[in-house]
């Protein structure tokens, strides 16, 4: 089972990194969200994997999984929503006010834009 979790995290990370390396804001945000999944699972997994041992105290049961990473990850999940929302509004603001959704310094793309008749990938109507 550890193999499955580890490979899933690896694949989420790889997909996240690939998306982060794209040129537009939306895929980068998606990439960061994928990395967030990966990091959260990673943190959670630092308590090691256990099935059917939720950290809910029961009489007569004395084997529980590690509760601490769970508490940390729980707040991380909620905070990551807040952070995603902030990044999205920043990207949206840039797009709405400048019609620009490149993540790179626009000067680096000035040549590229001239060659592309519809450089912004669809325009804001």
């Amino acid at each position: 089972m550890e193999l499955l979790v580890a490979s899933a995290v690896g694949i989420l990370t790889a997909a996240g990194i690939y998306m982060v390396l794209r040129l537009r804001t939306f895929p980068v945000i998606i990439g960061v969200s994928l990395l967030t999944y990966a990091v959260n699972i990673f943190l959670f997994a630092s308590g090691r994997l256990a099935t059917d041992m939720p950290p809910i105290l029961r009489d007569g049961v004395d084997a529980y999984t590690d509760p601490l990473p769970q508490a940390l990850v729980l707040t991380a999940i909620v905070i990551s929503f807040g952070m995603t929302a902030v990044v999205v509004i920043i990207a949206l603001g840039a797009w709405l006010s400048c019609s620009d959704d490149y993540v790179d310094d626009p000067e680096l793309h000035s040549g590229q834009q001239a060659a592309d008749p519809n450089p912004r990938g669809g325009s804001f109507r």
Binding site: A8, I11, I56, V103, G121
Partner: protein
């Protein structure tokens, strides 16, 4: 007065002139002068005790774990320097009052000056070397501000930068040296370090420590090859030059060498490095000084030369030389500060410092002439003035110093230095004040008002007094010398006398003075030769070195950070992966110690779904809507995974966050393009793919090896499991950790969440108050519109579900302490319920029925959580301590009430508010021209139509 107060007074006083700037120049001056006077008097109260051999200390523990204690001590050496700093400081302040013009910001000047003064006093009184280092850096910073005080002068700015670069680098070296010293001894207290001469000199770290410390001292005291910054610092106003660059700051390096003399001196390394540097500086400085036409540059190089002289004396390592060094520090401070002030007066009155444009000033400025002549003759080493006495002692020491196996090298060098020293001193008098002239001065000079010449005149008093009656200074010099030597060598039994008999020093002195006069008479041809001779220009070399490093740094930075985010994200990933690989290859990886859990068919299916969705995202990522669907799948299976691996709370949180995140992204996609254009070529995609795979592989390796090994040390989780019920009164350990054990963390996190939501709100407001607003209101529609944007089925369903959702929310909230649930999850669930109303009936309709602003709900949440925490104070417990009890109200079952529930309520409110405020802000962008709040919940309503018909 307490030593703490003496050090603190200038720093506290530094606030006054800045504040009093509006009150006028006199008020600034008075405040500065009184502060310094108070500190001086405070110091004076300790004089009798210190002279009687007592060492005054003041101790305060600050960070004992780091060896950082605020310990001060006052011994004779510290007393001499602190006295010089404060007394000359008083004279300089009086002089600056007259010197600065109305255009200059006097408050700013005096603030910097007091900062500097405090830092200097701090250096000489520190007992803790770490604190000494802090003050040391402060002098570099405050001198930077003072040198660059005239911000409009490019020379001032350049000089300030150079001084900061050189002394700052020296300061860094000094930090290293002092830390090594502290490490050798095992204590950072100077008083302890000074008692461990043998340990330090036997240590293999002695040489590195020595070199680093000397780098600090040499840069500060402008010793060759770091002498070049001092002349460039002369762009400062003259009071600064007189104070920092003759009497105090440049002597900080000498102070340091004198302070550490008992433990560092006496070794061959010390002798060679310090003596050679001192002698070279002395000769070089004196030769250059003679040919400088700028009065201040002449004095600057002469200061370099005299600092070299003192360094040489400290380097030879004999008690007699130490005594000469102490004596010369005192003498040099008096005559050189006076000389700088006279140069400033000449500059102030004649509006030039160029010696070739001056001359004949004796008739026009008799007072200044008198002061300058006495001071310059003292510098030349003419008998009956104090400069003669200490220079004679230096020559005496030089006559007995053997270096590189040669008996004549040192005496000859010392004589040459003294000869040039006499020559430039004579030139200062002859070319400025004697002869005909002034040749070409921009204005006709005359003596300044008394406020300006009183300070140098007062400094001349000890020059003459000690020169005629050296025995007056002898007890003090001997006491200080005793403190410098610290028992490392025997105390010299020499006395301060004018006449020592026909000693070699006397002959050397006579040669120097006569030779100096001869040189001056040959000045014109010599100056032509000097001008024709090729010389390396220190400033060009320095600028070249700086330019090289700036270029290097810029090259590296721009190579990595050229403004392309994708580029440095890629570099970052590759670097981190590379470092991880290096650790993997060189470290000792732990062998697996855990058994792998068996893979079940269900888990395999979920894994396959997750992996497929994540993989699909990469391949269809241009279609942004499809990406969101795939993201939903990923999130769903992540939460399924959490549930499977015994984390029900996480599963609930993940799935509810997933819902709001997707809604949020959908809202954003309403404005962003629906497709990502195809821009990257195959090569680039291949490159990114390889980087991504490498990163993924690295993370896989890391997490797999972590999962297969046990904890390196016992986890603190067992504590939480053991005390969750006993101490927190809850069975759900995760929830108890959140609201109790780590409640403070959670408190911070709901605040962060609230701030994030308010940031989103503020950014939306900013967007809506910009031209974007009109653009948004008037935008067209993307595609064909739905006939009924708010369909009946959805409205009815959400309406029916709302009470159910709320009840579920309350249920999840209440059971949270003992079962999976809690404030976070309940908040998310309730927020989803409310969002559904917005989706079904439209933003305007829902918003009109929303009674409480979401900011308020966030605030209420933080407040409730905070107040619950504060409640603990009333029971004498720390912030956020919780209490709980079990109650029974018939006919209900026994139930539990815990204060943690109040805290959780705060979490609940903050989460609801933050989620709703974020989503609401996004929705507000969606309004169009002509939208008005519909009074109906749905577009097509059969019951409404019936009413109309009927």
């Amino acid at each position: 007065m307490s030593l703490f107060l003496i050090v603190a007074l200038p720093f506290l006083g530094a606030l006054l002139p800045g504040l009093m700037n509006q009150a006028g120049r006199q008020a600034c001056f008075t405040a500065t002068f009184l502060v310094t006077l108070l500190a001086t008097l405070g110091l004076a109260t300790h004089v009798p005790a210190v002279m009687a051999g007592e060492v005054i200390t003041a101790k305060l523990d600050w960070l004992p774990g780091l060896g950082m204690n605020v310990n001060l001590f006052l011994d004779p050496l510290g007393l001499m320097f602190a006295g010089l700093i404060l007394v000359i400081g008083l004279l300089i302040i009086a002089y600056a009052r007259a010197y600065l013009s109305r255009k200059d910001n006097m408050g700013e000047f005096f603030t910097y000056l007091l900062l500097f003064q405090g830092a200097m006093v701090g250096i000489v009184l520190s007992d803790n070397v770490l604190m000494l280092l802090v003050f040391w850096e402060l002098t570099s910073l405050s001198s930077f501000l003072l040198i660059g005080y005239w911000k409009h002068l490019p020379e001032g700015r350049q000089g300030a930068r150079m001084a900061l670069a050189v002394t700052g680098m020296g300061g860094l070296a000094l930090i290293g040296g002092m830390l090594l010293l502290g490490r050798i001894v095992g204590s950072y207290d100077l008083t302890v370090i000074l008692e461990n001469r043998d340990v330090i000199q036997a240590s293999p770290l002695y040489l590195p420590a020595l070199i680093l410390i000397l780098l600090g001292a040499f840069t500060k005291s402008a010793q060759f090859p770091f002498h070049f910054w001092l002349p460039h610092a002369m762009a400062a106003p003259t009071p600064v030059s007189a104070y920092l660059h003759s009497a105090t700051m440049v002597k900080a390096g000498l102070f340091l060498m004198a302070r550490l003399w008992p433990v560092l001196s006496g070794s061959d390394w010390w002798f060679w490095i310090v003596t050679t540097a001192g002698l070279t500086t002395m000769v070089l400085g004196a030769v250059i000084a003679l040919f400088k036409n700028d009065l201040k540059a002449l004095l600057a190089f002469s200061t370099v030369s005299h600092l070299g002289l003192i360094t040489f004396l400290l380097g030879t390592g004999s008690g007699y030389a130490a005594m000469a060094a102490v004596f010369h520090i005192l003498n040099h401070a008096s005559f050189k500060a006076a000389l700088f002030m006279t140069a400033g007066i000449v500059d102030h009155e004649a509006h030039t410092r160029d010696i070739t444009r001056l001359g004949g000033l004796r008739k026009l400025m008799p007072i200044t002439f008198g002061i300058a002549t006495i001071a310059a003759l003292s510098m030349a080493g003419i008998p009956l003035l104090n400069g003669f006495l200490s220079k004679e002692m230096m020559l005496e020491e030089a006559a007995h110093t053997k270096i590189f196996g040669s008996y004549w090298l040192v005496p000859v060098a010392a004589t040459v230095g003294a000869l040039f020293s006499a020559a430039y001193s004579f030139r200062y008098i002859v070319h400025t004040f004697l002869g005909e002239g002034p040749k070409d001065a921009p204005s006709k000079p005359h003596d300044p008002p008394m406020g300006m010449w009183i300070s140098p005149a007062l400094l001349i008093v000890p020059v003459v007094l000690i020169g005629i009656m050296p025995f007056l200074a002898e007890p003090f010099v001997k006491t200080v010398t005793y403190a410098v030597i610290g028992g490392a060598v025997e105390m010299p039994d020499a006395h301060l006398k004018i006449w020592h008999g026909l000693t070699p020093a006397l002959y050397m002195s006579i040669i120097a003075v006569l030779g100096g006069a001869l040189l001056l008479s040959l000045f014109a041809p010599l100056a032509r030769g000097w001008a024709a001779a090729p010389r390396p220009e220190a400033k060009d070399i320095f600028d070249g070195i700086v330019a090289f490093f700036v270029g290097l740094a810029r090259g590296i930075t721009l190579g990595l950070h050229n403004g392309a985010f994708t580029r440095y994200a890629a570099i970052f990933t590759v670097t981190v992966t590379g470092l991880g690989l290096h650790a993997w290859m060189t470290g000792t990886g732990a062998a697996p110690t855990r058994e792998m859990l068996p893979i079940t068919i269900n888990a395999l299916a979920a894994w396959a779904m997750l992996v497929a969705a994540a993989g699909m995202i990469v391949f269809v990522h241009r279609n942004r809507l499809a990406v969101l669907i795939l993201m939903g799948i990923v999130g769903l299976f992540v939460s399924v995974g959490f549930n499977y691996f015994s984390a029900p709370d996480l599963a609930l949180t993940q799935i509810s966050v997933e819902v709001v995140t997707i809604i949020l992204l959908l809202l954003a996609l309403n404005f962003l393009p629906n497709r990502t254009p195809k821009e990257s070529g195959v090569g680039r995609r291949l490159r990114d793919g390889v980087i991504a795979l490498l990163g993924g592989l690295a993370v896989f390796g890391l997490i797999y090896s972590m999962l297969m090994t046990d904890f390196v040390q016992p986890s603190i989780s067992q504590y939480h499991l053991d005390n969750s019920y006993k101490g927190g009164g809850g069975d759900n350990v995760v929830n108890v950790i959140l609201v109790d054990f780590r409640g403070f963390d959670t408190f911070g996190e709901i605040i962060v969440l609230g701030i994030a939501a308010i940031v989103i709100y503020a950014l939306t407001e900013a967007l809506l108050s910009s031209p974007v607003r009109a653009q948004l209101l008037n935008r067209g529609y993307e595609s064909r519109r739905a006939g009924d944007a708010h369909p009946l089925m959805m409205v009815v369903l959400t309406r029916v579900m709302m009470p159910i959702v709320l009840m579920v929310g309350v249920y999840i909230f209440l059971r949270g302490h003992n079962e999976p649930g809690g404030g976070f999850i309940a908040g998310l669930v309730v927020a989803i319920g409310v969002v559904m109303q917005y989706m079904a009936s439209g933003f305007a309709w829902a918003d009109a029925r929303q009674r409480y602003p979401y900011h308020g709900i966030i605030g209420a949440g933080v407040l409730v959580a905070g107040l619950t925490g504060i409640g603990a104070w009333f029971f004498g417990a720390p912030f956020l301590s919780s209490a709980f009890g079990y109650f029974r109200i018939p006919p209900m079952q026994e139930f539990e009430l815990a204060t943690a529930m109040g805290f959780d309520l705060g979490v609940f409110l903050a989460v609801v508010g933050a989620v709703m405020l974020s989503l609401e802000s996004f929705s507000r962008l969606g309004r169009r021209q002509g939208d008005k709040p519909s009074e109906y919940a749905m577009d097509i309503d059969p019951s409404r139509d019936e009413e109309k018909e009927g």
